[in-house]
C-alpha cells in the first residue's frame, strides 16, 4: 500500500470517528490539532474550508436559529456542534487533497481511476475553452449585449464548446489507448 492509500485510509477512519463525536470541545480540539498538523498550508486550507461551507452553513444556521428561538429551544449549542463538525470534515478533505495525489490514492480501482483521469482532464479543457469564449465574446461586444444576444451566443457556443471538448477528450482517449489503458 502506498503513502497515498495510507492517507486515504487515515482520512476515512477520521471521518468515521468524527461522526460519532457529539461534544463541541472534542471537535474543536480535533480541528486545532488538524490545523496545527497541516503545516504551512494550514491558513489557506482553513480559509478554503470556511469559504466552502460559509454559504451553506450560514443559511442553515440562520434558519435553525430563527426556528429554535421561536420555539424556545437551545440555539447555540447545536449550532456550535454542527458547524464545528462540518468545518473539521471539510478541512480534512482539503488537507487530504493537498497532501496526496488523488490518482495515487485511487490506484487499485482501475475504473474509478480512468473516469477520474478523464474528468480531471476535461475540467481543465473546459476551463481553457470557457476563458477563450468569454474573451472572444467581450471583444465582439464593446457595449453590454442584450439578453437575446447573450442567449443566442450561449446556445451557439455551447454546441461549439462540446465539439471542442469532445475533440480534446478523443485525443486523451487515444493517448490512453496507445498506453494500453483499454487492453485486457
Amino acid at each position: 500500500m502506498n503513502r497515498a492509500r495510507y492517507c486515504l485510509l487515515g482520512y476515512g477512519l477520521a471521518v468515521l470517528a468524527i461522526s460519532f463525536i457529539h461534544q463541541p470541545l472534542w471537535l474543536a480540539l480535533g480541528l486545532l490539532t488538524a490545523v496545527l498538523a497541516a503545516g504551512p498550508a494550514r491558513w489557506s486550507l482553513l480559509r478554503r474550508a470556511l469559504l466552502a461551507l460559509l454559504l451553506f452553513n450560514a443559511s442553515v444556521s440562520l434558519a435553525y436559529a430563527l426556528l429554535a428561538g421561536w420555539r424556545g429551544q437551545p440555539v447555540w449549542a447545536p449550532l456550535l456542534l454542527i458547524n464545528l463538525r462540518v468545518l473539521l470534515l471539510v478541512f480534512l478533505g482539503f488537507w487530504l487533497v493537498d497532501r496526496v495525489r488523488l490518482l495515487d490514492a485511487l490506484r487499485g480501482w482501475p475504473l474509478l481511476s480512468m473516469v477520474t483521469t478523464l474528468t480531471l482532464g476535461q475540467i481543465a479543457v473546459y476551463r481553457c475553452l470557457l476563458d477563450d469564449f468569454r474573451a472572444a465574446f467581450r471583444s465582439r461586444n464593446p457595449l453590454p449585449p442584450r439578453p437575446v444576444t447573450v442567449l443566442r451566443h450561449a446556445g451557439a457556443q455551447g454546441g461549439a464548446l462540446m465539439e471542442k471538448a469532445l475533440h480534446g477528450a478523443e485525443q486523451a482517449a487515444q493517448a490512453m489507448r496507445s498506453r494500453g489503458s483499454f487492453d485486457g
Binding site: A52, Y64, L67, L89, G93, F182
Partner: protein, 214 residues
C-alpha cells in the same frame, strides 16, 4: 442539490454507503468491456459538463443547494449504470476539490442524484417516447430532478428525528421535514425547467451524432 459533509448522522450515511457500494459493484460489472476510445471521450465530456453544472449552485435554507445536475443527459446517452458511475465520480471530485457535497454524504448523494435520477429519467423516457421524443426527454429530465430533490429533502428532514440528544436538540442537520421539503422542492421546480431545456439541447446534439443508447 447534494448534501454537504457533516449534515448526516452515521445511522444514515453508513447504511447508504453500503447500499451505494453494492450499486457501484452492480454498475461497474462488465463495464470495462464497454469502455473504448469512442465511448470514453463522450463520457468524459458529458461527465465534465455535469461537474460544471454542479458547481453553479445557490445555497438553500433546506440544507442543500439548488443547481442543475446533468444526470438526465448522462442517463439518456449512456444508460443508467454508466450514468450512475460517472455521476458518482463527479460527486467525489466536487467533494474533495471544492468541499461541495462530502465524503460522508457521498453514498446518499450518489443514490439519490445518480442512481434514482438516472432510473427515473430512463424509465419515464421509455414510457413517454411514443408521445414524441422531445416531450419524453423534457418531462423525464424535469421529473427526475424533482424526485432526486424530494429524496434529498426527506433524508435531510429526517435527521433531527434520527439523531438527537435526550433533550431533543439535534446532533446533525437541525431542520425538520416541514422546512426541508418546501425549501428544497420549490426552487427545484424552477431549476427543473432549466435542466429539462439543457437536457433536450444536449440530447439533440447526441442524437445527431448517433450516440444515444436508450
Amino acid at each position: 442539490m447534494h448534501i454537504p459533509d457533516g449534515f448526516l448522522s452515521p445511522q444514515t450515511w453508513l447504511p447508504a454507503w453500503g447500499v451505494a457500494a453494492a450499486a457501484w459493484t452492480w454498475a461497474g460489472r462488465g463495464l470495462a468491456r464497454r469502455l473504448d476510445e469512442t465511448l470514453v471521450p463522450r463520457l468524459a465530456m458529458l461527465t465534465a459538463l455535469a461537474y460544471a453544472l454542479g458547481l453553479i449552485m445557490l445555497p438553500l435554507p433546506g440544507g442543500t443547494s439548488g443547481h442543475a445536475l446533468g444526470v438526465a443527459v448522462l442517463a439518456l446517452v449512456f444508460g443508467v449504470r454508466l450514468a450512475f458511475l460517472a455521476y458518482s465520480g463527479v460527486l467525489l471530485l466536487q467533494a474533495l476539490l471544492f468541499g461541495a457535497g462530502g465524503i460522508t454524504a457521498l453514498g446518499v448523494n450518489a443514490l439519490a442524484l445518480g442512481l434514482v435520477g438516472a432510473l427515473v429519467t430512463v424509465g419515464l423516457y421509455r414510457l413517454l417516447a411514443r408521445f414524441g421524443e422531445a416531450l419524453a426527454v423534457t418531462v423525464a429530465a424535469f421529473v427526475s430532478l424533482q424526485v432526486s430533490a424530494l429524496i434529498v429533502a426527506l433524508v435531510l428532514g429526517l435527521q433531527p428525528t434520527i439523531a438527537r440528544r435526550e433533550d431533543g436538540t439535534p446532533l446533525f442537520f437541525p431542520l425538520g421535514l416541514e422546512i426541508t421539503v418546501p425549501a428544497v422542492l420549490l426552487p427545484h421546480l424552477l431549476i427543473g425547467v432549466g435542466e429539462a431545456a439543457l437536457t433536450l439541447f444536449v440530447w439533440r446534439l447526441a442524437r445527431r451524432k448517433g450516440w444515444v443508447a436508450t
